[in-house]
Symmetry: C2
Subunit: 121 residues, 2 copies
DNA sequence: CACTATAATGTGTGATACACACTAATGTCA
DNA sequence: TGACATTAGTGTGTATCACACATTATAGTG
């Protein structure tokens, strides 16, 4: 309800942006179908709307990072996704970049902000 | 030149999204003008295009996180920005959310992906 | 058998924000 | 004087995410 809370919520959403792909790629180490990803990410503390995930999966497949196939034998038809070779390579690179970014930002955030406490007002 | 490199570059850019605001807010602990932010962030390993930063600053000011004033006494007129009270509050919250997010993702990324090495094919 | 919940996959739209290219002015130094 | 750095800004295109909505199929309940 607070204005400031709303601003923070927006910024947090902006922060999550992009990390979703990292998380999804990571979870696709073994084959999964969309709905199971929604659930396992939810459990991991990363809620994702199905309306966000499914287009994401299609996008990643079009880029060649994922491969999918319909599995019709089971109780319900499900579309299983798995990392392609390219996808695995990209995941490695992306993970490294993510960790570098975290270190960079930690350096900024941990830095004393008050080394020059004041200037003239 | 590689296709895969281009994909990674795009995803990294997506990762950076949102973190820019965190970094900028953090650097505004003491008053700064736009161009100096471009330079200090560059040194810190976070290059930012002036065409990205200036609209960002105006946006943050419109949201009430920043306050600015023209400084005409110096060699060149510069617009100095500083955190407002709200801005400082938001920065605290955002920093906490960021760190929580980093922990959550680390838990995902550090998890062994090969606990169930194979399924039936 | 109708009705509903839930599993499972998708589509369409709108808000937002970032990158990039561009403009424009002033100071500095060779 | 001319080139370059400094400093601030605008405008446009594109991509992503959230949200609401749609669709099919199965299982369960009265």
């Amino acid at each position: 309800m607070d204005d400031r809370e709303r601003i923070v919520a927006g910024l947090v959403q902006e922060l999550r942006r992009g990390t979703l792909i990292l998380c999804v790629l990571r979870q696709l180490g073994d084959n999964r179908y969309g709905y199971s990803l929604v659930q396992s990410l939810e459990e991991a503390g990363i809620p994702i709307d199905p309306g966000t995930l499914y287009p994401l999966l299609r996008r990643l497949e079009k880029q060649g990072l994922l491969e999918s196939r319909w599995e019709l034998e089971e109780a319900r038809p499900r579309r299983y996704y798995g990392l392609s070779e390219t996808g695995a390579w990209v995941l490695d690179r992306l993970t490294a970049e993510w960790q570098a970014m975290v270190r960079t930002i930690r350096a900024l955030v941990d830095a004393e902000p008050d080394t020059q406490p004041k200037k003239e007002e």
